[in-house]
């Protein structure tokens, strides 16, 4: 995108996207990111992908235990 008056550059916006999604930026920084996003389609794509990546990571949570692991750990707990 072309440099607009007072807007943060793409590198700065992208650096802040995850913290922005985490609500871990100050209100001023949040406004700057949102201002940038309102002008920059590429960074909107980066934001959408950051959301997808977060969902992707969160979806990797706990699954069922493999049977041999389940047997070993349950035996361990039972023997405590």
């Amino acid at each position: 995108m072309t440099e607009k008056q007072g807007l943060i550059p793409c590198s700065e916006a992208v650096r802040q996207l995850w913290d922005y999604l985490d609500h871990a930026v100050s209100p001023e920084e949040q406004e700057k990111v949102e201002q940038h996003l309102s002008f920059c389609r590429t960074c909107c794509g980066e934001l959408e992908f950051a959301e997808q990546l977060r969902g992707f990571l969160a979806a990797q949570g706990a699954d069922e235990l493999p049977p041999h692991v389940k047997a070993r750990l349950e035996r361990f707990v039972a023997d405590l």
Binding site: A24, T42, L53, F56, A62, V77, L80
Partner: protein, 194 residues
């Protein structure tokens, strides 16, 4: 009125059994080898301090905290020092842009989504294990196990600013390794993505 919690051996066993999958998968993401040993050590410690658990409903996070403490102690014993990555080394990579430019799935209308779908759970683990513990642990705890950033700082015994910086570098490094892993293993050629 405060409800009196049952802190018998049987009560611990009941709570622990229910949390075994969460503990095991967390351990598998933190260490390459010895996940079961890590879980067992955590269970032993937890059993010894069972009286400190206030509410049964908090058993999951409580057990995970203990497991992270065991993991941290192991790292300290190994005394492995991992250097912080230079910022510029990780800053300039964008998986989003790389996918747009390289277009590895030319028939996909939802390129970025389909790219991520190609990774099975074990692939994701392999990618994570390519990251130094310094960056892997905050990423796992924050984005896979859902601990708040402040809690991650407490768990890993580092200042909040350090965790934020490591999360940033860890995310960038994770993106870069997601790309490198797929290239090196031919993941996208395996017909996983239809």
């Amino acid at each position: 009125m405060v409800e009196v919690q049952d802190r018998t051996r049987e009560s611990f066993q009941r709570l622990a059994m229910a949390e075994l999958p969460g503990l095991y998968w967390l351990a598998r993401r933190l260490v390459r080898d010895g996940a079961e040993d890590l879980v067992q050590e955590a269970l032993l410690r937890a059993y010894r301090s069972f009286g400190t658990l206030r509410e049964d409903t908090a058993a999951g996070p409580w057990l995970k905290r203990i497991l992270v403490n065991v993991f941290r102690d192991q790292l300290r014993r190994q005394a492995r020092s991992v250097e912080e990555l230079p910022v510029e080394e990780v800053e300039d990579f964008s998986l989003y842009q790389t996918l747009v430019e390289q277009d590895p799935l030319p028939y996909s209308d939802t390129l970025h989504h389909d790219y991520l779908r190609a990774f099975a759970r074990e692939d994701v683990r392999e990618v994570l294990l390519r990251l130094p513990e310094l960056y892997r642990a905050p990423l796992v705890l924050r984005y896979m196990d859902g601990f708040a950033t402040k809690e991650v700082a407490r768990l890993l015994d580092v200042p909040l600013g350090t965790v934020l910086a490591r999360l940033h570098r860890g995310r960038k490094r994770f993106e870069r390794e997601l790309w490198a892993y797929a290239q090196e293993t031919g993941l996208l050629l395996k017909g996983v993505v239809q």
